[in-house]
Amino acid sequence: MSLEGKHLSFGYRRKGKVLEGVSLTVAPGERVGLAGPSGQGKTTLCKLLSGYERPRRGEVLLDGRPLQAYRGLCPVQMLWQHPETAVDPLMKLGDTLREGGQVAEGLLEALHIQPAWLNRYPAEPSGGGLQRFCIARALRPGVRYLLCDESTAMLDLITQAQIWQFLLQWAEEHQLGLLIVSHNAALLERLCTRIEML
């Protein structure tokens, strides 16, 4: 039972190499931190693990089965750095949310998302509000791993703490596995059960 990236290699151009032979495992309920200088492929690794990109070599396994074998909504979801670029600006938030099917019960209340918001467009809520919306969108009933790529770097400290305290509690209750990418060493120290360098 785990999300496993095995000997992953990837490059965006034919000759370019972003990742070479990288392996990483996240177990349910585990919180793994991923640190390292800019340009080392942290975001790329997240994209491979959540199925946005296919590795050139190596494989991504979920409970021993290749990630591609899962149909429907991917059980591995990503939480992006810039929430405003992760939603369709011309769709009302409610429609964006319904696109992915059912929302886990009590989630909207727990994230303080007011029902009135769902009738609005993404440009209206603040950055922190929109990131909370993206969390609600990602945490479907079947989702078991959440990859957070610098998800709170642009937010102020209080909003950051609000979001992480919520995610920690949710992860604990639902045995959600978290991969947390950040440049902030103190944040990783606080959040993670294990920290990997890339």
């Binding site: 390292g36 200088p37 800019s38 340009g39 603040s126 950055g127 922190g128 509000g129 770097a153 642009m154 937010l155 102020d156 400290l157 209080i158 909003t159 950051q160 703490a161 609000q162 992480w164 305290q165 440049h183 902030n184 060493a185 103190a186 944040l187 120290e189 606080r190 959040l191």
Partner: protein, 309 residues
């Protein structure tokens, strides 16, 4: 020593059309006061949407046409009028903007540094400026898209350091950089300050600000709520409940959030904008709150922390 920049009760508002031809005033910065002395790094810390970038644009006089500015600004002891802003900006007063998008994408770095002039002195100066930030001559021949995030940031600082500026305004200079590059970039600002310039660092990252700033001004919903020495934070000598909440939300401290969100422009009434989230608030907080000297710093609060010394 005479301060380089003095901002007194600055407010900036925008005129917007609400319905048809009905116009409304939307205040974004309400009462902002701060002082930058020579050799000092002053950080303005506030969350996104609190109007931080507008402060920089207001000082440089590059606000959009539908904005309105009130309050007093002094640069080197003289009133800073729109006319004077246009004279000194780019020379004595420079901006280090947020990102590469402020560079011309169709122009090589070199010509942008020379500012249209191709004579020997400009070339020599740009080379020294680049070399100072660890960039070689070959960078002059690159286009902005060929620069990495850290390089672009150093090029932007080099454009600012080309002239001997008295005041450097840096707008969010660190997001997207890893901890080491961020510290290096901030080190460059500290160097500029050690050379006698004043540095105004605008950021949302309290932790990084504290590593280089001498003074910190905390900004909430368009107002400065506190001005403190950087050392006050580590020593626990804070004044405003919002500053306390920020400090407690740091991962290495309590990591405890307070509920609620910052009110947006136009949602703020007459009283303290932080009152709805404040543990120390009372009915008197709905009235006007003065900005006062308190415990070696300044605070805009009726119930600040700490005893007067």
């Amino acid at each position: 020593m005479e301060p380089i920049l003095e901002v007194k009760e600055l407010s900036i508002s925008f005129t917007q059309y609400s319905r048809g031809t009905m116009q409304t005033e939307l205040p974004v910065i309400r009462s902002l006061s701060l002082t930058v002395a020579p050799g000092q790094v002053v950080a303005v810390v506030g969350s996104s949407g609190s109007g931080k970038s507008l402060l920089a644009h207001g000082i440089l006089g590059i606000l959009p046409y539908n904005s309105h500015r009130a309050g007093e600004l002094f640069f080197l002891g003289q009133p800073l009028t729109q006319e004077r802003m246009e004279q000194v900006r780019g020379k004595e007063m420079v901006l280090v903007p947020q990102g590469v998008t402020y560079l011309d994408p169709l122009m090589q770095v070199g010509p942008q540094l020379w500012k249209g002039s191709r004579d020997g002195t400009h070339r020599k100066r740009s080379r020294t400026a680049l070399a100072r930030y660890g960039l070689g001559e070959e960078v002059e021949g690159l286009y902005p898209f060929e620069l990495s995030g850290g390089m672009a940031r150093r090029v932007l600082i080099a454009t600012a350091a080309m002239e001997q500026p008295r005041l450097v305004i840096a707008d969010e200079p660190t997001p997207g950089l890893d901890a080491r590059s961020a510290r290096r970039v901030l080190g460059h600002f500290r160097e500029l300050a050690e050379g006698g310039a004043g540095v105004l660092l605008i950021t949302h990252d309290l932790e990084l600000a504290l590593t280089i700033a001498h003074r910190v001004a905390v900004f909430y919903a368009g107002e400065t709520v506190e001005e403190a020495e950087a050392s006050d934070f580590a020593e626990g000598r804070l004044r405003h409940p919002y500053t306390r909440a920020l400090w407690n939300a740091l991962p290495q401290n309590g990591f405890t959030p307070i509920p609620g969100t910052q009110p947006g422009p136009g949602e703020v009434g007459e009283g303290c904008p932080f009152a709805p989230r404040c543990p120390r608030q009372g009915p008197e907080c709905l009235g006007k709150v003065p900005y006062m000297e308190w415990n070696g710093g300044r605070v805009r609060c009726l119930h600040p922390e700490g005893e007067t010394v």
